[in-house]
Symmetry: C3
């Protein structure tokens, strides 16, 4: 028999009892689950950070896994809680759009159910901790084989996160930083392939008034401390400092504009 | 056959080798255990933080789990190490009181054994790392089915943590902050039910010279940035700022006094 | 059938998607693995920190475990990736020397293979994330029983990390700090046994102009706030402040010199 997988992604940190309470509730209902921590360091209530995180992790997992996601600025309000099946990937997540970037490029729309059956919840539900009282027990019951059709009715509408698409005009790309990683590397929303399609002389990246020429292949290609642009492991253009912190150096972060291409005056 | 669960709660952080060494020792004796991290971010040697953490997590776990707790300012001193069975929950913990709030509301007293049988320890015991050298191997042997009676004699006395109880007089409650969570939410020792029993006009919370009127049901009920009081997920009164940090705003933390009720001059 | 163990040690932190992506890739190939987090808080690209960490954790694990280590300042460069079998402990690690302190005291040399068979890698390999695209899938295939001989040819040379050995002359020891732990305890490269062999009157430790007399047995032996020297749990001399932070107090860290013994003028 296979060990079912339940993964956890939250903004709870690890100093508070919240993550451990969720683990206890899941294991209390199904002690044979394998729990997998994805992250508890999503910045508090940062849906964009969560969205990038999920889009770059969930697709790698086997389809049988159940993913509990608790980044939930609207906890206790009227926002719904969802069971989502997207191409076999199963999520339990508040209706706040953090999962919608995962649907990009999918051939079929997701199946989304609104969690409405309290019989699969804890008997007493706190207004401030739906992760522990609703999502955790539902994940545990699903891992025991519960038919998701029993969780609640399907819905056809949900919150989506507005994600800025890069602009392409006259051979130039205009985009922005969408994620700063642990090393201070700046990941843009501009696809690497698009830049590789430019003539080499046009591969000029401008950010915060600084200009970088060309795309490096790896961090190690530049001297330590040198700023560079390269293809990030998620496929987009990334701005980095070899063995340094590009975000700190450039005072850049999410939404900082990035230009790629020749200047219009040229 | 069931996979046995061993959970870990420490103040070791994750940059040092201590947590991983404990995991190695446990898996070295019993590779088939499922290890579950509860937290390694308990503030160093902070027994009150650990006590609140444990009281709000351990009860959710299935009774077969074994909980290793290493917050141990007295390591190497004469303080005992305990095996505790409390209503089926099994702890391995130093005798420093951090587990005693868990005993509140229990119908039966815990069974406590002093660990005295070196045959279940590592062959060489460091004076500064009993977590690795005593608690970890004992947890592994227990998970393999060792009879806990063999660990050492029962004891009837143990350290307890002095926990301030809130005072109730003339319809007013006098309590204090007992925990600051990852979001800066301030959790008091005043039971939410008690406040709900007050007339609405008396539900006035005073902390650090600021007054909050009424209990909100959820964070989302107030505008972002607004201070509020509400029922925490642990059942007590909590002071929070919607999408903000109440601890930073109020310069408040553990032991900060909190008053609920009409002013005595009224 | 036994559940195979795969451990993870990285400098990725937990706010970025990198650790979770590695977990997804491994579980995508072999959902029945038990993943064990050793640390994701190795300071970025700090090979010396990683080396101390690994030397004090890996030996505790059962030999069947597979250890994935991603502290990799040279990612994408020509540095090799290795499968290492050292006395039955199996590592997947970049050729950067962080694992070589583990070989000290081993009776037999390690078997080292250079990973060269792309059939066990992800079909598309990013130049900046070999942990996800090469090490993770190889770990998963090994955990499914793949014969390591198929991974690539054995090699007989590898990078080693220069580790300063302490100097012993005229009854005095000259060493340095090699690790600062989560509590600010300073761990030296001077073996505790060597100091215990000195006459008691010669057990004087000098660091940053301060002198400590004698070795304490435990933190608790000194008053809170007192600086002391003692045997660390790894066997070397450690400098600590009971319930305080010695690194901050002494402004000391890796490579800070430490002297033990009588002054030469005496």
């Amino acid at each position: 028999m296979l060990v079912p997988l339940v993964t956890l992604t939250t903004d709870f940190g690890e100093d508070s009892p919240y993550v451990a309470a969720i683990k206890g509730v899941i294991l209390g209902i199904h002690p044979q689950v394998q729990l997998v921590d994805l992250s508890h360091q999503i910045p508090p209530q940062n849906l964009r950070h969560a969205a990038f995180f999920l889009a770059n992790t969930i697709p790698h997992f086997p389809r049988e896994a159940i993913h509990v996601i608790v980044v939930d600025p609207g906890v206790g309000s009227e926002r719904a809680l969802f069971y989502v099946n997207m191409d076999g990937h199963r999520l339990l997540v508040p209706d706040n759009g953090c999962w919608t970037p995962l649907t990009r490029g999918q051939s079929a729309p997701p199946v989304v159910r609104r969690l409405e059956e309290p019989r699969y919840w804890r008997s007493s539900v706190s207004a401030t901790f739906h992760g522990r009282d609703i999502l955790a027990p539902v994940a545990a019951w699903l891992s025991r084989g519960l038919n998701p059709d029993l969780l609640g009715p399907t819905v056809l509408q949900w919150a989506t996160l507005e994600i800025a698409d890069p602009q392409h005009q006259d051979g130039r790309w205009k985009g922005e930083i969408v994620f700063v990683d642990h090393f201070g590397n700046l990941i843009t929303n501009i696809p690497g392939e698009a830049v590789l399609a430019l003539a080499e002389s046009s591969r000029r990246i401008t950010i915060q008034g600084e200009e970088i020429s060309g795309l490096s292949r790896t961090y190690a290609e530049a001297e330590p401390g040198t700023m560079m642009a390269l293809l990030s492991s998620c496929g987009n253009v990334e701005i980095a400092v070899n063995q340094g912190n590009a975000a700190a150096r450039l005072q850049a972060g999410p939404a900082t504009p990035v230009l790629i291409g020749r200047r219009s005056s040229e």
